[in-house]
C-alpha cells in the first residue's frame, strides 16, 4: 500500500493542506478559509487535498491523454469545477435551512415579508451560482463558500428597501457561521457520478448550439471537439472512477503548523512551527534557496536557511500587523474591492503616493484624506503596496539580508503589485539574485509540514484518527 503524508497549515486567513507521497511529490492540495472551529477548517482543507489527490490519480490513469488531447483536458477541468459545485450545493442546502430557521425566529413585525424576500433571493442566486460553476470558471477562482454566497446575497439585499436590508443582513451573519463550522461529509464517488451527469447534460446542450460567429474561433474549435468526443471521454473515465474512489489514501503521518497549530487536534509532537515549515517547503521546491520571505495573513517572516533547508535565523513583525495580508484585506474593504482586484488595480498606477502611516488603522484615515484631495486610486494603492514591501524589506535586513537564492512564499505572494515591488526592492538593495515565486506559494508551509511528517515525526496517528483520515 502506498503511504502518504499530510501537512496542515492553519493560517489566520486560510487553512491549507498538502499530501505528499514517499518521494516528497505533491499528490494533493486543499485550501479553505479559516473559521472559528479550527478542527473543521483543518478537516475541510484535508478533505479538499484528498479529493485533489484522487483527481490527480485519475488524471495519471488516463495518462498522456490529459495533456495532449483537448477534450480530456477540458473535461477534467469542467469535472473539477462541477465537483466543487456538488460540494457547494450541499452546504448551500444547509445554509438555506439555517437562514429560514433564523428568520422564523425573528421578532420583526414584517417577518413574513422578510421570509418571502429571502426565498426570492435564494431562488435568484442558486441558479446564478450553478450556472457560473457549470458554464463559467467559478471553480478555478479559489473562492470559498462564504465569499461566493455573500457576494451574490449582499448584492441582492442591497436592492431591497431598508425594512429588509437590516434583517436580511443579520439573518446571513447569524446563519453563515454555524453552517461554516459544521463538517459536511461527501462521498467522492457519488459527487463525481453526479458531476458527470451534469456535464453530460451540458455537452448535450452544446451539441444543439449553432455557430453564429459571435465568439472567437478557438471557442468553436473547442466546442466541436467536445461535442464529438465527450462520450468517449466519459467512457474512459468511468473505467477508472470506481477504482480511484475506493483507493485508500492512507495518511501514515501528519504535521500541523500555522498560527493556530496549538489548537489543532493533533498530538504535541505532530506540531511544528510555521517558520520551519515554510522554509523547508520553499527549500524543497527551490533547493538553492537561502532566504525566504513569507507574507501571510497576520505575520511577515524573513527566514534564512542553510543548504539542508534548515532555519539558521528568522525575524518576524512584532506589535503591528501593517505589512501583512490583513492589511491588504483592510485596504480592499476601504476601497470596496476584492482582494484579487487589489494588485491589478495598483499596477495601473502612474506613480506611487507616499503613505506615511505604519499602522493599518491610521493608513485607513490617510487613504480617505488622499482620496479627498483628489489622488488617483491606483496611485494610492501602489503606495500602500510599496509600504508593505518596505516593511518586509526591513525585516529581511534585520534577519541578515537577501542571499542567493531568494524565495517568496505565503498568500500575499499571489498579489502581483507586491511581487513587483519585492522584485524591485530586492534588486535595488541586494543586486541581481535569483528570485523564486511559485504558483503554489501559499502551500509552502503545508508542504514543509508534510515533509517533516515524512522525516522527523515517528509517532502514530492519534487513536480514532486513522480511519477518518484514510477514508476507507
Amino acid at each position: 500500500m502506498d503511504k502518504y503524508y499530510l501537512g496542515i497549515d492553519l493560517g489566520s486567513t486560510t487553512s491549507k493542506a498538502v499530501i505528499i507521497n514517499d518521494k516528497d511529490e505533491i499528490v494533493g492540495r486543499g485550501i479553505t478559509n479559516t473559521r472559528a472551529n479550527y478542527k473543521v477548517a483543518a478537516d475541510v482543507a484535508r478533505d479538499e487535498a484528498i479529493y485533489d489527490a484522487r483527481f490527480n490519480l485519475l488524471a495519471r490513469k488516463i495518462g498522456d491523454d490529459v495533456s495532449t488531447k483537448t477534450e480530456f483536458k477540458k473535461y477534467m477541468e469542467d469535472l473539477r469545477s462541477v465537483f466543487q459545485y456538488g460540494q457547494f450545493k450541499r452546504r448551500m442546502d444547509s445554509l438555506e435551512d439555517m437562514l429560514n430557521k433564523t428568520v422564523s425566529n425573528f421578532s420583526y413585525a414584517n417577518k413574513d415579508a422578510i421570509s418571502t424576500e429571502l426565498k426570492k433571493i435564494i431562488e435568484t442566486i442558486r441558479p446564478q451560482i450553478r450556472h457560473e460553476f457549470i458554464n463559467g470558471n467559478l471553480g478555478s477562482k479559489n473562492q470559498f463558500f462564504r465569499d461566493i454566497v455573500s457576494e451574490r446575497y449582499n448584492s441582492e439585499v442591497e436592492n431591497l428597501g431598508s425594512e429588509y436590508y437590516e434583517p436580511l443582513m443579520l439573518a446571513f451573519d447569524k446563519s453563515i457561521t454555524p453552517v461554516e463550522n459544521e463538517m459536511v461529509q461527501y462521498s467522492f464517488n457519488e459527487l463525481v457520478q453526479e458531476s458527470m451527469k451534469i456535464l453530460d447534460e451540458k455537452y448535450q446542450g452544446l451539441a444543439d448550439q449553432q455557430e453564429d460567429g459571435s465568439k472567437e474561433d478557438w471557442y468553436y474549435a473547442e466546442l466541436n471537439v467536445m461535442k464529438n468526443n465527450y462520450k468517449a471521454v466519459e467512457q474512459t473515465l468511468r473505467q477508472h472512477i470506481d477504482e480511484i474512489a475506493s483507493q485508500d489514501i492512507h495518511i501514515a503521518k501528519m504535521t500541523g503548523t500555522g498560527y493556530g497549530r496549538a489548537l489543532l487536534p493533533f498530538p504535541e509532537d505532530c506540531i511544528k512551527s510555521e517558520i520551519l515549515c515554510h522554509a523547508f517547503g520553499a527549500h524543497a521546491i527551490f533547493p538553492n534557496t537561502r532566504t525566504v520571505l513569507d507574507i501571510g495573513g497576520q505575520d511577515t517572516k524573513a527566514i534564512q536557511v542553510d543548504s539542508h533547508g534548515l532555519v539558521t535565523s528568522f525575524h518576524m513583525n512584532d506589535r503591528c500587523a501593517a505589512g501583512c495580508g490583513r492589511y491588504l484585506g483592510y485596504i480592499a474593504d476601504e476601497f470596496g474591492l476584492s482582494l484579487n482586484e487589489l494588485g491589478p488595480e495598483a499596477n495601473k498606477a502612474t506613480k506611487e503616493t507616499t503613505i506615511c502611516s505604519t499602522c493599518t488603522v491610521f493608513a485607513g484615515a490617510e487613504v480617505k484624506e488622499l482620496l479627498h484631495n483628489g489622488e488617483e486610486r491606483p496611485n494610492i494603492l501602489a503606495g500602500l503596496h510599496k509600504a508593505i514591501v518596505q516593511r518586509a524589506m526591513s525585516l529581511i535586513a534585520r534577519s541578515g539580508g537577501v542571499k542567493n537564492e531568494f524565495t517568496f512564499t505565503g498568500g500575499v505572494a499571489r498579489n502581483e503589485a507586491v511581487l513587483k515591488y519585492v522584485k524591485q526592492m530586492v534588486t535595488d538593495s541586494y543586486g541581481e539574485v535569483t528570485m523564486n515565486i511559485h504558483t503554489d506559494s501559499i502551500f509552502m508551509g503545508a508542504l514543509g509540514g508534510a515533509m517533516f511528517a515524512r522525516r522527523n515525526i515517528n509517532v502514530d496517528l492519534p487513536v480514532g484518527k486513522k480511519t477518518e483520515m484514510s477514508e476507507e
Partner: protein
Amino acid sequence: MAQEAQKEKSMILQKEMIDGLFNDLAQVKETGKKVCYTFIPGNLSELIRTFDMLPVYPEINALQSAMRKKSGGYIKEAEKNAHSEDVCTYVKCDVGMMMKGNIGPTGTKIPEPDILLLSYTGCFTFLKWFETLKREYPNAKVIMVHTPYQENAEITPEMTQYMVKQLKEEVIPQMEEVTGIKFDEEKLKGFLRLSKEAEDWITKIFDSTKHKPSPIDAYFAGVYYIGPINIGFRGTQEAVDYYKELYDEIQERIRLGLGPITPEGEMKEEKYRLVVEGPPNWTSFREFWKIFYDMGAVIVASSYTKVGGVYDLGWRHDAERPIESLAEYCMNCYTNMNIPQRISLLSKCITDYDADGYVTNSIKSCNSFSAGQLAMMRDIEDHLEVPVGFIESDLVDPRYFSYSNIKNRLESYFQMLEQRKSLKETV
C-alpha cells in the same frame, strides 16, 4: 522574590539583606544617615559606604515594582505628567512611583536623596533621569562623573587619570560636604578587599555553568544572584558570606548532578544551553522564564548579569590602588564596552559554556542595550555558527509583553535548535 517554592539558605540571607537595607532607609530621619541615589552600572558602592550613606537604586525599585505588578500604574502616572511613550520605562516607573508617594518595594517610604550620584554617564537616559529628579528634589546635590567610553576597546592610563581626577576633585569633596564626614582611605580599602573577595566568588558561581547539566540558570536566577552586589552590598562581609553560601549550595547541586532551581522546582532535563543578551522582562518574569524551562532551556551566561561589573576577564577591585580601581570599575561595566568587546565577551561565554544558541531580548526603549544588538547577533551567528533568536519585550511596561508572540518565536527557535542538534548527530 520568585523562588518561593524552594528556599535555599542563600535566598534567606539575600532577603534579610534587602529587608535590612529598606528598613535602614525608612529610618533615616531617626539615624540621620544620608541617602545617595545612584545607578547600577558603574556604581561606587564602596565609596558611598565609606561616607556611611545609604544607596537607593531607582532601576531596582522599578523592576521590583514590575514584579509586584505595580509598574503599569506608575508608568501611566508618569505619562499623565507628559513623559513620552518612548521613554525608558525604568524612568517612568520610578517617576510614577515618586509621584505616588515614593513607597518602595517593601512597602516602606523611600527617603528623599541628599545626593544624586551619576558615576556612569554612558547611558544618556541616566542624565535626563536625574535632571528630572533634581527638579523634584531641589535640595539634592547632583554629582556627575563623565565616564569615557571604551571606544578603542581599552582603558588607557589617561582615561583612568581623567576619572581619578574627577573622583578626587569632584566626588569625594562633595560627599564630604554633604555628609560632614572626612574621607577615610583606610576604610575604603577595607571595603575594596571585601569587594574583591565577593567578586572572586561571583566569578566562580557564574563559571559553574560549565557543568552539564548546568547547576544554575545564569539569567533568570542570575539576576537574583547579582542582587546583593547590585543594591549596594558590594564591599560588605554580608555579601561575601552570601556568595560563599551560594557557592557551596551550587557545589552540592553539581555533586548531586542537579539542574537549576525554577519557580516550579528542579529543572528536569537540560535540552538546550543558551546565552542571552539584553535585560529580561520584569512584568511577566515568571511566564517568560517558564517558556524557557518548560522547553528544557537553561541560560548558561547572560550579558545583563554583567551590567554591575564584568569580572569574567579577571578584573577586580584592588585595595592597593583604591581610587584608580574605582575609576576603572566605572569604565568596566558591560554597556561601557564597545561592540567588538561585547561580541568577544559573549563569544567567549558561548564557547566556554558550550552553548547551543544565542538569544537577544530586545528592549526598544533601552538605548544602552539596543545599540548594536543586531550587529552583534549577526557577527556571532557568522563566526560561531550558532543559531540565533530575536524576541522583543519591555523592561517594566506590561503593555509591551506579548506572551503569545514571544512564545511563538521561542517555540520556533527551540525547534530550530532541535533540528540543528539532530543534523549534527547524523552528520
